[in-house]
């Protein structure tokens, strides 16, 4: 019987593929939220597996804060071209220009919260009925209670106290007009699982994840990249260090790790020995202990 057994990564993979196919079968107009970070890259890889040998029948949606690492956008455009998938872009800049949200000011100004409005607008404009995200339950406490199929009301809001029970592998994607679902195929993966899987499957990821020299500065114990739209405080001194990204997001709140890891094996060893979560390096989550829960209720990723 020994032969008929999957290791933990293959079992997670099988579960995620199942979720992708279930979305394709249950929804009319699903979309994959693609940030260019490793979780969304792994999601897309799983999507390719789910529909092989057909092309991925679900388009991608990138919510673009305008504050990107250049490499992320290049990587995104290459992937779209290589696999012939459709890409939608929702622009936070446009949302700001239209006066729907107001840009934060000050040193810690971030467009992270503003993304919610852009995302909900994109969902409404294109009539997406399921938005698949790379959120994992190990990331944050509020996410620990998230379902695979997470129901959102017509305002895009999440009601954590009134979630549908989710049993076995029976997912209920039924909804009324105007409502939508957020679907999280990576729910049961951890950060380490994601890295191990990238290694096992030889998945291409942006160079930002590997060591490189970059101009950075330290703020509240987090290393951030310098960029034209970042204002340094008088005491903050930019310097050039060997760093890599542990997560990739908006440049203004992506913390960098000092590292010389130039290959996946070293990264995995580094992650396994890490003593802080990747979210701990996100600037925006430091604001309050329930920051994520509050944002999620509003309709955040």
């Amino acid at each position: 019987m020994n032969n008929y057994h999957l290791n933990h990564l293959r079992e997670l993979e099988a579960e995620s593929i199942f979720v992708f196919r279930e979305v394709a079968a249950q929804f009319d107009n699903p979309v994959i939220l693609f940030s260019g970070g490793k979780d969304s890259i792994v999601m897309f890889h799983l999507a390719r597996k789910a529909f092989y040998p057909a092309k991925v029948p679900i388009p991608l949606l990138h919510i673009d804060t305008g504050h990107n690492f250049e490499e992320t956008i290049k990587f995104r455009d290459n992937l779209v071209e290589k696999y012939g998938v459709k890409l939608y872009v929702g622009s936070v800049q446009k949302t700001i220009d239209e006066g729907k949200v107001r840009e934060e000011t000050g040193y810690n100004a971030s467009r992270n919260v503003l993304q919610t409005t852009t995302l909900l607008d994109a969902i409404e404009e294109h009539k997406f009925d399921a938005a698949m995200g790379g959120g994992r339950r190990d990331e944050e406490k509020a996410r620990a209670k998230e379902r695979f199929f997470s129901h959102r009301d017509e305002f895009g809001q999440w009601d954590p106290k009134n979630q549908r029970p989710e049993l076995w592998n029976l997912f209920n994607g039924k909804k009324r007009m105007g409502e939508h679902f957020r679907v999280f195929p990576l729910s049961n993966w951890t950060e380490l699982d994601v890295w191990q899987y990238i290694y096992m499957e030889d998945i291409e990821i942006p160079n930002l994840y590997f060591t490189h020299k970059r101009e950075v500065f330290e703020r509240d114990g987090v290393l951030l990249a310098t960029a034209p739209f970042m204002t340094l405080k008088p005491n903050e001194k930019p310097e050039i260090l060997d760093v890599r990204c542990r997560t990739i997001g908006d440049i203004t709140n992506t913390g960098l790790t000092r590292s010389k890891a130039d290959n996946l094996k070293d990264i995995i060893d580094e992650i396994a020995a890490e003593r802080t979560t990747e979210r701990g390096q996100r600037f925006d989550d430091k604001r309050s202990e329930t920051a994520m829960e509050d944002r999620k209720k509003e309709g955040y990723f």
């Binding site: 019987m1 020994n2 008929y4 057994h5 999957l6 290791n7 933990h8 990564l9 293959r10 079992e11 993979e13 099988a14 593929i17 199942f18 196919r21 279930e22 079968a25 390719r48 597996k49 789910a50 529909f51 092989y52 040998p53 057909a54 092309k55 339950r137 190990d138 406490k141 509020a142 620990a144 209670k145 106290k161 979630q163 029970p165 989710e166 049993l167 076995w168 592998n169 029976l170 209920n172 039924k174 909804k175 009324r176 729910s187 049961n188 951890t190 380490l192 699982d193 290694y199 096992m200 094996k265 995995i268 890490e274 003593r275 802080t276 979560t277 701990g280 202990e289 329930t290 829960e293």
Partner: protein
């Protein structure tokens, strides 16, 4: 499956899903916190965060329960209100914990957490012994057919680590165990708060000869938990690339719910009854010679027969039951009670049909494990046995034989909510 890469052995790791059950304050959250903490699965920033939260609540020492009590409402009320999932890994296994609350009104959460678990930890407060809630939890674990149960007698530090207390509780539990259908029950005396027998063996209980909880979680044999005997493949999605390279390709995609399928195997398709042979089993990485539960694959067949989502591919010498009359145990989740003669949508594997509730046979009094045939109204958090008629036949097995092909959910057509979870009973099992 063999993997080629040099990966420090992590490709040999297995996945174990477990759930925790116990009454309020028995120590579930503390136990999970302890497992995470002692296995070094907690990160510094998480510890900082709970230290800060603890200080805000006026507590001095670090409260492990805060690691799992996530949502703001829970923080404020100091209770767990919904199933929360936790993750940790040791070099041997990756663990997924469904942390479910113990209140009476939240039976639905325990059923939910139990539905995918290989193992249940049932906590008992050593000072209280077996109480009504314990029976309820043990019954649910048995009803949901969780293969392994570990009864942890907790707070041993509060009863002077007394062997007699442990033995008495163990006997109490064993006295009703024959009423349950559990294959594997184990007992461990622990202190979640102090750490005895959780990850480290207890120095305070030299009389206990068994293993620690962590050792058990890492070593309990789970390879037999999937059904590899009865081949079942519910078709989830039909893949038609319509590209030049794969011009006439039709792949039947799905997750194997039971058994093993090999290239060349004779197959039979429900409901059409048509037969064919497996031509290939495809994945992005490679073509497979065989596939087994719980793999997600895409199957092509030799003959051009009509197969669509909701159909089930099986082998001609091992057939599921095909019927429109279903008898099942039902666990009810909704404020609106189960309506006899009411119509619902029933989702079973990848199939969906309309159904009508014909009869409630009995309601289970979970605390005494007696069948109530007088009051048969199935309300929220009740469990009962019902008869259902479906608009089209289902192809199923007894839940006891296969947890995937023997389970279904009921959906309310007006609110779209998942209102009940069913476990199919057949004459044979």
């Amino acid at each position: 499956m063999t993997e080629k890469k040099d990966t420090n052995g992590y490709l040999d790791m297995e996945l174990l899903r477990f759930t925790t059950a116990g009454s309020v304050d028995d120590g579930k959250s503390t136990l999970i916190g302890r497992l995470l903490y002692d296995s070094k699965s907690i990160f510094e920033d998480q510890i900082e965060a709970i230290e800060k939260a603890g200080r805000n609540q006026g507590k001095s020492e670090i409260d492990l329960a805060l690691l799992t009590d996530g949502l703001r409402a829970e923080r404020e009320q100091g209770i767990t209100i919904d199933v929360a999932y936790r993750y940790f890994a040791t070099p041997k296994r990756k663990f997924i914990i469904a942390d479910t609350p113990g209140h009476i009104q939240y039976t639905r959460n325990m059923v939910t957490g139990a539905s995918t678990a290989n193992l249940a930890i049932i906590l008992i407060d050593a000072r209280n012994g077996v109480i009504e809630q314990t029976l309820r939890h043990a019954y649910i674990a048995s009803l949901l057919q969780i293969p392994h149960i570990v009864v942890c007698i907790n707070k041993m530090d509060l009863v002077d680590y007394d062997e007699a207390v442990y033995e008495k509780i163990k006997k109490q539990f064993e006295s009703f165990a024959p009423k349950l259908e559990v294959r594997d029950i184990k007992f461990i005396p622990i202190s979640a708060l102090k750490g005895d027998n959780v990850v480290e063996p207890s120095e305070n209980m030299p009389w206990y000869r068994g293993t620690t909880l962590m050792y058990l979680l890492e070593n309990i044999y789970i390879k037999g938990d999937y059904n590899h005997t009865d081949a079942r493949f519910p078709v989830q999605y039909v893949i038609r690339p319509q590209s030049e390279e794969f011009h006439d390709y039709r792949g039947y995609a799905g997750r194997i719910d039971g058994g093993i399928f090999k290239v060349g195997d004779k197959i039979k398709v429900f409901p059409s009854g048509l037969e064919s042979k497996i031509k290939s089993i495809d994945t992005l990485n490679e073509k497979l010679d065989f596939a087994f539960a719980p793999q997600s694959v895409s199957i092509t067949v030799e003959d051009d027969i009509d197969i669509s989502r909701g159909d089930m591919i099986v082998k001609p010498d091992n057939l599921p039951v095909q019927s429109q009359d279903i008898t099942a145990m039902i666990s009810w989740f909704n404020e609106r009670p189960l309506q006899v003669r009411g119509k619902y949508t029933l989702r079973h594997t990848t199939n969906e049909v309309k159904c009508i509730i014909q009869e409630v046979k009995f309601k289970m009094d979970i605390n005494s494990m007696n069948k109530n045939t007088e009051d048969k109204e199935i309300k929220m958090n009740d469990i009962g046995k019902i008869k259902i008629k479906t608009a089209k036949p289902l192809f199923f097995d007894a839940y006891r034989k296969n947890r995937n092909t023997g389970s279904f959910i009921l959906i309310d057509d007006i609110t779209n909510e998942t209102v009940g979870a069913g476990m199919i009973v057949t004459d044979k099992a």
